[in-house]
């Protein structure tokens, strides 16, 4: 008995008269709440509010009134997805389904197709349909991690927009391709991940 229990002993709260009497602690607690309330009320009324960004960690109210005020997001903020483009405007995506395999919410649906033109050799596969259900998406970013071609990114800096019907959350391929990163770029950041990188020697071209 007793020898099998291993753990950090946590001291019991002391039960002195002050604690047991309850009322002193209540008074002290009310003092804290009252002080906070009036101090913050005064600062709000007198325009002594904190800067919500610079002083976000200080005492005082730092609420951001969202649509009017906005918090700067970190660069790695995961927003709505976008499909990056190639130079010729086609999606970089090669429909390998790695993203939909990695997706824990199973919100990505892809139908693969094959380019008819001969010059697309090397990346002959492309998504005929690429659908993300932004309502199911949990914005974990696994799809971006899984993508071998840097074709899907979440760097749009946009939230999923609230809509009034569910089908509006179904983002089709064209919608996803129309997004850009905050600087307006629709191309990829990592051209080296192109499966068609390098060149085909003339000698071997069919």
């Amino acid at each position: 008995m007793g020898n099998g229990i291993i753990g950090k002993p946590i001291p019991r709260p002391s039960r002195d008269a002050k604690v047991q009497a309850y009322l002193p602690s209540v008074v002290a607690g009310i003092g804290v709440t009252v002080k906070h309330f009036f101090k913050n009320t005064k600062e709000l009324a007198f325009g002594q509010r904190n800067d919500p960004v610079l002083e976000a960690f200080d005492d005082g109210v730092t609420t951001i009134s969202y649509p009017e005020q906005k918090r700067p997001y970190p660069e790695r903020f995961r927003g709505v997805h976008r499909l990056t483009l190639r130079e010729d405007g086609n999606p970089r995506c090669v429909a390998c389904l790695c993203c939909s395999t990695a997706c824990p919410a199973q919100c990505i649906h892809i139908v693969a197709g094959e380019y008819a033109d001969a010059d697309k050799k090397g990346w002959e596969k492309y998504p005929v349909s690429f659908v993300i259900d932004e309502l199911r998406c949990i914005f974990c970013g696994y799809c971006v991690e899984a993508c071998p071609c840097d074709a899907i990114r979440m760097d749009t800096g946009q939230h999923a927009v609230p809509y009034d019907s569910r089908d509006q959350f179904i983002y089709e391929r064209e919608t996803l391709m129309s997004f850009s990163d905050p600087s307006g770029r629709q191309l990829t950041e990592n051209p080296k991940d192109d499966p068609a990188r390098g060149h085909t020697p003339d000698r071997l071209k069919h």
Binding site: C98, T101, E114, G122, K125, P195, G198
Partner: protein, 532 residues
């Protein structure tokens, strides 16, 4: 039986076995690319190198090598490794495969060489997920790529024929496909050209890869060099699950895997299932592509007079049509499983008192002498067996009988039949024609009431092939639409007509089938697929 010792484990072998074949039979995988149990030995991939210990009392064969120890080359020795696919077994032979560091080193090196000029375009490669290059890299490679030059570029997406696309960059020139077309398909249209890292497979001048076994070249290809145009880019293999089915293409009854996606309940392809007695390792193109019949031309809703309706309405109509039939003709189907046919025969003989059986099925084609039979129905033998004492007559007799008024009512199973337009019209002039059909076809066209039956992909069933071998086929996907297995429909009709039949469950039906001596060829158990 003589034994060899592989990594300390006793393995029996048969006379003439190579090490890799003995291991394969014992369920041990010696890594390999070019070796295939159904093909001749080429020994060109060098992946199956193993260390063979010298017989007791003899010196091992060792080679002088220079080994890089991180600073300089050191002169040392290592054993001479030998290909397991080439070396025959002798009793008491001791082989080290996974337990030898030299073998591990060799495998890693071979893997690196094979992948040296590989484009690593797994995202767009259909083989990804079942690719030997991926598997063995994970198992034996795990190195970082050391070559930073551009790879040797070779032709990509070359069409070899109507069914196959070739990618030379992914090819490791193991020549499995070359050997297959020569040895099994007996149509040597593929050959290898160039050497070293320029090597590639090509089709003979003026020819296409267009024999009846083209898809087998894709099947034997251990990497993604050959891909099937039918399956190309349709699905990723890691989403697919396999059901052990029997090919429905002909009476040979090739064992197959039906690969389907459980999420959307669609079948995507057939793969041959090894069965030494029936189809060995192969299937024909016709059979390989017959998986599509799981979805194509299906009847998934009940019909009355050709118009889709609810099951309840169709059953009511069927009951009205079949109550107090004058003379009832029963049509069995060579396409349906023995269970379906047996249920129908039981209902007809035991409850309805009908004794005239006819057999419907697909029209015969030509046998190709390799696998394909002339009879294009999977279960002709089974249907004939269950009818036993009253062998089914050809369908032409039924047409004549209905025209002549000898049969007023028809209860039919099946979809395909060798019936032309006038024959269909003649059949539909019967007073009542109730059909249980899985596919669109002449029978469904002629019938007044059509009940949607499950295809083979949606039900467990027994099929008896041309060699009278009963084989069981597993259910892959769920029944589509309102469809139910044929025997269930028979049981439902029996219930509608007021008969209590012992056909409530499949097990019950199979017990009844086993009790019927004429119909009870005990189905052979499905052989477990050998580990590749």
């Amino acid at each position: 039986m003589p034994n060899i010792k592989l990594d300390g484990r006793e393995i029996p072998f048969m006379n003439g076995d190579t090490i890799i074949r003995a291991a394969h039979r014992a369920g041990i995988d010696v890594p390999h690319y070019c070796w295939h149990p159904g093909l001749s030995v080429a020994a060109n991939c060098r992946m199956c190198l193993v260390e063979i210990l010298p017989p007791p009392g003899q010196r091992a064969m060792r080679l002088d090598v220079l080994q890089w120890n991180g600073k300089e080359y050191v002169s040392t020795q290592k054993p001479k490794l030998q290909p397991a696919c080439q070396i025959g077994c002798t009793d008491g032979m001791e082989v080290l495969s996974d337990s030898s560091p030299h073998v591990a080193d060799a495998r890693k090196t071979v893997q690196e060489l094979l992948l040296l000029n590989h484009p690593v375009d797994c995202p767009i490669c259909d083989q990804a997920g079942e690719c030997r290059l991926q598997d063995y890299w994970l198992e034996h490679g795990r190195y970082k790529k050391r070559m930073h030059d551009d790879i040797v570029h070779k032709p990509k997406a070359v069409s070899f024929g109507p069914t196959i696309v070739y990618d030379a960059e992914r090819c490791i020139v193991c020549t499995r496909c070359v050997r297959f077309v020569e040895e099994v398909a007996k149509d040597p249209v593929l050959e290898k050209r160039e050497r070293g890292n320029l090597g590639e497979i090509f089709v003979a001048e003026g020819r296409q890869l267009d024999n009846n076994y083209t898809l087998m070249t894709e099947h034997v290809c251990p990497v993604g060099a050959l891909t099937s145009k039918d399956f190309r880019f349709k699905a990723r293999v890691w989403f697919l699950r396999s059901a052990r089915t029997v090919c429905q293409g002909c009476a040979t009854g090739c064992n197959a895997h039906l690969d389907f996606d459980p999420r959307n309940q669609r079948a995507y392809r057939h793969r041959p299932r090894d069965n030494e007695e029936i189809n060995k390792y192969w299937m024909c193109d016709h059979g390989m592509l017959s998986y599509a019949r799981a979805h194509e031309g299906r009847i998934t809703e009940a019909r009355v007079a050709g118009v889709a309706t609810t099951v309840a309405d169709a059953l009511a109509e069927a009951k009205r049509r079949l109550t107090n039939p004058g003379t009832l003709a029963i049509v069995l189907s060579a396409e349906h499983a023995s269970e379906d046919n047996f249920a129908l025969v039981t209902l007809a003989k035991t409850y309805l008192g009908a004794g005239d059986f006819f057999l419907a099925g697909r029209a015969p084609g030509e046998a190709d002498g390799v696998l394909m039979s002339a009879d294009r129905n999977p279960n002709t033998a089974g249907a004939v067996q269950v009818a036993s004492t009253t062998p089914p007559k050809p369908l032409a007799d039924l047409v004549a009988g209905v025209s002549a008024g000898r049969y007023t009512h028809v209860l039919a199973l099946g979809s395909e039949a060798a019936l032309d337009g006038p024959a269909i019209a003649a059949l539909s002039r019967a007073k009542g024609f109730v059909a249980i059909s899985a596919h669109e076809g002449p029978i469904a066209k002629a019938a007044h009431v059509v009940l949607p039956a499950c295809s083979w992909a949606e039900m467990d069933g027994t099929y008896v092939n041309a060699q009278d071998t009963p084989q069981r086929s597993q259910r892959a996907i769920h029944p589509q639409g309102d469809s139910r297995p044929g025997w269930e429909w028979v049981a439902v009709i029996a219930k509608e007509l007021g008969f209590a039949t012992p056909m409530r469950k499949l097990a019950e039906l199979r017990r009844a089938m086993a009790a019927e001596p004429s119909a009870s060829l005990p189905p052979k158990s499905i052989p477990a697929p050998p580990a590749e």
